[in-house]
């Protein structure tokens, strides 16, 4: 059970007070109406007919008023649950006939007003009642609490459009509660969730987590690339929260942990064998070191020993493969060797990330105008790399 908040408590108290007032007003009005009805029935016996004549020294109207007052004395509401105690009509006096509007106004201010049409008079007086405070407060506050509790369990009424939306989300596989929560979310969030639900790699995603995670990561738009990452990450980790965290919190950065010969991106490990790994690292270093990062392929007919020396240094620094080092030292770096390794890297990257996600980390080439030799570099800019 949820705890009461101060706001809810104030709500209950205000509702209780309002119910008290309504109940009190209603009781008085009911009582006044019943007095009026009773008066209507007994009118003939209450108002003697000969008040204009009769040689009276006493005031005739005073006589009638006294008679009516006597009849109304100690008006007592009957119901045991009533909030009113003893009631009395006070200051009853005759007036000129009241119009209907005036009668209503009297009623509104809890005054009794009676018509004496045979004498062209009306009588009007105040209704004073003692109030049973304990019954009043007890019953009405109890009612307020019950109302509050009931309202907690009854779903708020929904408009037709919202109902249609809820049904729509239920059809997409959400439970009624989930559907209702999503249906009231803002349009961007709904768009995102709809995209996520419809994305096949996310088919096994727990539906209850959609809204929670989209809200927690404060997503308000989703690119095709973010969606692809999320799909891949979920497929890899089978964990909704991990997938969201890696997709939206980790930078899209290719991370070389050369000492451990590890290559990761957004927490996904890409398996590369030793030789291609160092080649990839070497290309990455080139990309990071100079502005454009282009590396000129050696001439097909002649191996390049300068570039080979760089690679050998790199491999030796991190304990690379002895055979590969020897080969480079003996034969130098050939264009063929370089092409083979680039192709291996490409194959492994696509295998690990898929073509779409891998593509910025693959190579691009261009032909040098003078020598007609090829230049290669990794497409992604240098911020996309990190070497530990």
């Amino acid at each position: 059970m949820k705890r009461f908040t101060t706001k809810q408590l104030i709500g209950v108290i205000l509702t209780g007070l309002m119910l008290c007032m309504v109940s009190l007003a209603w009781s008085k009005w009911t009582l006044l109406t019943s007095i009026k009805e009773h008066y209507g029935v007994t009118y003939d016996s209450l108002t003697p007919n000969k008040i204009y004549s009769g040689n009276m020294d006493d005031e005739a109207v005073g006589f009638i008023v006294a008679k009516i007052r006597h009849a109304l004395e100690q008006v007592r509401p009957q119901s045991p649950l009533t909030v009113l105690g003893q009631c009395q009509v006070t200051n009853l006096a005759a007036t000129a006939p009241l119009s209907n509007t005036e009668h209503w106004r009297q009623l509104l201010f809890f005054r009794l007003s009676l018509d004496d049409p045979y004498h062209h008079l009306s009588y009007s007086g105040a209704l004073d009642c003692s109030i049973r405070w304990s019954t009043l407060a007890g019953s009405q506050f109890l009612l307020a609490v019950i109302l509050f509790v009931v309202l907690q369990y009854i779903p708020a009424p929904v408009c037709q459009r919202l109902a249609a939306r809820i049904t729509y989300w239920q059809r997409l596989g959400l439970t009624r509660e989930e559907a209702r929560e999503v249906a009231v979310a803002n349009e961007q969030v709904r768009d995102i969730i709809e995209t996520l639900i419809g994305y096949p790699p996310l088919a096994g995603f727990a539906h209850s987590q959609w809204l929670v995670l989209v809200k927690r990561f404060q997503l308000n738009h989703l690119t095709q690339r973010e969606l692809a990452w999320l799909g891949l990450l979920f497929t890899r980790f089978k964990d909704e929260e991990q997938a969201f965290h890696n997709a939206f919190r980790l930078p899209e950065q290719l991370c070389f942990d050369a000492a451990n010969q590890l290559l990761t991106i957004k927490g996904i490990e890409i398996k590369l064998t030793a030789t291609p790994y160092y080649y990839y690292l070497w290309y990455a270093q080139k990309r990071m070191q100079c502005e454009d990062g282009w590396v000129l392929n050696p001439i097909t007919t002649k191996a390049d020993h300068e570039l080979a020396a760089e690679l050998i240094d790199l491999m030796e620094q991190y304990g690379g493969h002895g055979k590969a080092i020897n080969d480079l030292a003996r034969n130098g770096l050939t264009a063929k060797k370089l092409d083979q390794n680039r192709n291996k890297i490409k194959d492994e990257m696509i295998a690990a990330l898929g073509e779409e996600l891998a593509s910025p980390f693959l190579f691009e080439g261009q032909r040098e105008q003078t020598s007609l030799r090829y230049l290669y570099r990794i497409q992604a800019p240098k911020e996309k790399f990190k070497i530990i």
Binding site: D44, T47, N49, K50, I51, Y52, S53, G54, N55, M56, D57, E59, A60, V61, G62, A94, T95, A96, P97, S99, D115, P117, Y118, H119, H120, L121
Partner: protein, 216 residues
């Protein structure tokens, strides 16, 4: 008028001007047929409400003894009926009047109207009641079809009552004894204002004529 009579007597009793001129204030409920020529000649009452011609009928030189102070002129009297009123079938209508040959509203005016509309009053089915209370009761119980009274009768009764105006020139006047000092007249007129208020309302009057001068 019975309403708030104690207010009137109370304000008179408390008035220093009245206290100077009179020893006491007495409220007397006098049915109109019991006012006699002797009462008027003796000026037994300082204030009388009535119609000038009836009072002159009692004492021809009434205007030498009393003069009007407040006049309620030009209020209307109507025939009221539960059905639409058709004077060509008057003989089939049960007509209710009050048996008081000094009453304009409930006796003289309606009879005069019936006389003008019918060849022979004796042929009509007229029922007489002791007072207007009994008359109204008879009408509400449908013992009679038509009665004559003032417009306020409609108040508090069901809609769909039919009415035809008999006259809009009915009147009533409050008289006070002549030769009263101005300030006493003014005080009396002041004290009588609850009556003016009440009658203005029940007679639907727009204005009431008061004939007094030198009041502040």
């Amino acid at each position: 008028m019975p309403i708030e009579a104690h207010k009137i007597t109370g304000s008179l009793c408390n008035s220093p001007v009245i206290q100077q001129h009179y020893g006491s204030v007495r409220l007397s409920w006098q049915p109109r047929e019991t006012v006699t020529a002797v009462n008027i000649l003796n000026q037994d009452f300082e204030v009388i409400m009535g119609r000038e011609h009836s009072l002159k009928g009692l004492v021809p030189h009434f205007s030498l003894l009393y003069s009007p102070i407040i006049s309620f002129d030009g209020f209307s009297v109507f025939w009221f009926s539960h059905q639409a009123i058709d004077f060509s079938t008057l003989a089939n209508q049960r007509i209710g009047l009050v048996e008081d040959n000094l009453s304009h509203t409930h006796y003289l005016l309606p009879l005069q109207d019936l006389k003008a509309r019918s060849s022979n009053i004796d042929d009509l089915d007229i029922h007489y009641y002791a007072d207007n209370y009994s008359l109204y009761e008879a009408f509400d119980n449908r013992e009679v079809d038509m009665i004559s009274t003032i417009a306020v009768f409609r108040n508090g009764r069901e809609d769909g009552l039919h009415s035809v105006k008999i006259t809009d020139r009915n009147s009533a006047t409050l008289f006070v004894t002549n030769d009263l000092p101005d300030k006493v007249r003014c005080e009396l007129a002041d004290a009588l204002s609850p009556i003016v208020e009440y009658l203005t309302r029940i007679l639907n009057l727009i204005s009431v004529e008061t004939s007094q001068s030198g009041c502040q």
